[in-house]
């Protein structure tokens, strides 16, 4: 029997509440289609910058056993070239595509947002949270004033929904989330990776070429869950949970913590893109077994 798990979030109609996380696959239009065809409710692209970026040298990814450390350095072909990839993804009828943007200034974020809006994408996600790329020497995602400026500027220039992705590398994530909400953000994505590193004991060198990077995967799930729980308590806009989700139980935990949708990244290395189908099936079974009619009924349930 078909069980409806579609979700309406910030003006987007999602056939289900699972999304591909930013920076995973997503370099090409066809790669986004692959994930969509595997069942994701929406796909988020690689973070795109105005100019092309080569990214860092290898090693850019290190398996640390309980997750991955990565410092890719936001490799991407630049917004103008990437728009062509986005169009290839869009040409797949119903596909819901969210473009992740990484800018140097508020205006640059806004210009890119307009370019991708014109191309026909469904929403943008502002990457204000990459732990290993800096803007003017400062980590942009830790400063409420900068967040306010960027979100406001982007909102002024486009009509499609704007999601703001936050870093966990901060003492009080609630303040940042509120800043994004006050500036007009249509939703919060939490979390990006946790700043971390690993060292090779033989050579005595850091394993990542960039020395430090971001931790993702099962290791960060409890951190992500705590962040989503705190944010859900402090804002009224939808929260999209991300970080270490590897099976349906993880997904349900995030809904109970207050997430309206979830994003999946690292787990694709363990289970490949089939993970979307697996998690969707698991969510349906859970709702049925517990006697719920839809996901909305369990969003934030752990707060009561």
């Amino acid at each position: 029997m078909p069980f409806d798990i579609s979700m309406h979030i910030a003006g987007l109609n999602l056939r289900n509440p699972t999304m591909l996380a930013a920076g995973i696959l997503g370099m090409t239009g066809l790669s986004l289609r692959k994930v969509w065809n595997a069942g994701a409710g929406a796909v988020v692209t690689k973070s795109i910058s105005f100019q092309p970026r080569l990214g860092y040298k290898n090693p850019t990814i290190v398996d640390v056993g309980y997750g991955f450390l990565n410092a890719m350095g936001i490799p991407n072909p630049g917004v103008y070239e990437y728009v062509e990839e986005a169009k290839i993804a869009i040409s797949e009828g119903e596909l819901v595509i969210i473009v992740s943007l990484y800018g140097n200034t508020p205006l640059e974020f806004a210009k890119m947002a307009r370019i991708v809006e014109t191309a026909g994408v469904n929403a943008v996600e502002l990457n204000l949270s990459c732990p290993h790329v800096k803007l003017g020497g400062m980590e942009i995602g830790t400063n409420p004033t900068i967040i306010d400026k960027i979100v406001k500027t982007v909102k002024k220039h486009i009509n499609i929904p704007v999601f703001t992705k936050l870093t966990p590398n901060i003492s009080d994530i609630k303040t940042i989330a509120r800043a994004a909400e006050d500036a007009g953000s249509d939703g919060i994505v939490a979390i990006n990776t946790v700043k971390a590193m690993a060292i090779d004991v033989e050579s005595g060198r850091p394993l990542l070429a960039n020395k430090y990077g971001g931790l993702s995967g099962p290791a960060i799930k409890p951190i992500a869950l705590r962040c989503v729980y705190e944010i859900a308590q402090s804002v009224n806009i939808p929260v999209i949970g991300c970080g270490g989700i590897t099976d349906w139980k993880d997904a349900i935990e995030f809904f109970l913590a207050g997430a309206s949708a979830i994003q999946i990244g690292t787990a694709i290395a363990y289970k490949d893109v089939n993970i979307f189908g697996e998690i969707i099936k698991g969510i349906k079974c859970y709702l049925k077994r517990k006697g719920y009619n839809n996901i909305k009924e369990i969003v934030g349930l752990s707060h009561t």
Partner: protein, 279 residues
């Protein structure tokens, strides 16, 4: 999760032997239980501390219980790898990727340059399953020939196997391109499978010839590889991740990506780089 994914964790190995194949090609051997069990066509990521981490096909699996890769010196990382000597440490991850599917009956192998290194383990497997093997080995010139003696040893039974060497300058074997040989072979004979590894334009030509003669083919591709576990998306051709769903693609898969295969690959930033046609 843990057991299945152990091979993807980086480990340090000592270089235990080095074979100098030509002036700028070396086979570097190390001891690693995962690589020893690698399937033909699989690759490893080699970390040169402080420099880079690069993909290399496994060319040796069990030479006195050592495994190895055959490295052509082309830039910074391979140059640093060339400076390494016996006892030095390198980091490895893998083996990664799918592998060549062995076939019975009449099969052809087509290599260009150092591509023969990744086909070598396949020959070891094929002599156990295939009745007849034709190996067409293309090189630029005599001084770039590698692996020929080892292959001669494996395919020594001339009743069944043939080796055809081509050089572009005619300094050894037949003068010309490996693809010319393939073209004339396909006019006279039928093959159950063609396996090829080498420059992409050569492989595209072999694919086109195979399609014309309705012959199945398996092609070993190269793309930019970073994570090698199918996460980062640097290595896409069509809907396939070369790092995980490749390196080896079949005729059916190649038909799906025929607009990209032999036309362009992507740079580190995802920008399309078109292959240069020299002819």
């Amino acid at each position: 999760m843990s057991q299945k994914f152990k091979n993807i964790r980086r480990r340090n190995v000592h270089i235990e032997d080095i074979i100098e194949e030509t002036l700028n090609v070396k086979t570097i051997l190390f001891r690693d239980k995962f690589c020893q069990l690698a399937k033909p066509g699989q690759y490893v990521m080699i970390w040169i501390p402080g420099i880079d981490e690069i993909p290399m096909s496994i060319s040796v699996r069990n030479r006195l219980s050592l495994s190895g890769v055959t490295v052509e010196q082309v830039g910074e990382a391979t140059e640093e790898l060339f400076k390494k000597t016996l006892g030095d440490i390198i980091g490895i991850r893998g083996p990664f990727g799918n592998w060549f599917q062995p076939n019975t009956g009449n099969v052809a192998l087509v290599s260009g340059g150092t591509g023969i290194a990744s086909l070598f383990p396949l020959i070891e497997t094929l002599i156990k399953t295939s009745a007849k093997i034709v190996a067409v080995l293309g090189f630029k010139s005599l001084k770039e020939i590698i692996f020929l003696n080892r292959i001669r040893k494996l395919l020594s039974d001339k009743r069944y196997h043939r080796i055809i060497v081509t050089t572009e300058d005619g300094s050894y074997g037949q003068k010309g391109l490996a693809t010319d040989v393939v073209s004339s072979l396909l006019k006279k004979e039928t093959f159950k499978m063609i396996y090829t590894c080498g420059p992409e334009l050569m492989m595209r030509r072999v694919f086109d010839l195979a399609e014309e003669s309705r012959t199945h083919i398996q092609v070993c591709l190269e793309r930019i590889i970073r994570c090698s576990v199918g996460l980062c998306g640097s290595c896409f051709i069509g809907e396939y991740r070369v790092c995980k769903e490749g390196l080896v693609l079949s005729s059916e898969q190649l038909r799906q990506v025929k607009d990209e295969f032999g036309t362009f690959k992507r740079d580190f930033n995802g920008v399309k780089m078109h292959f240069k046609t020299t002819h």
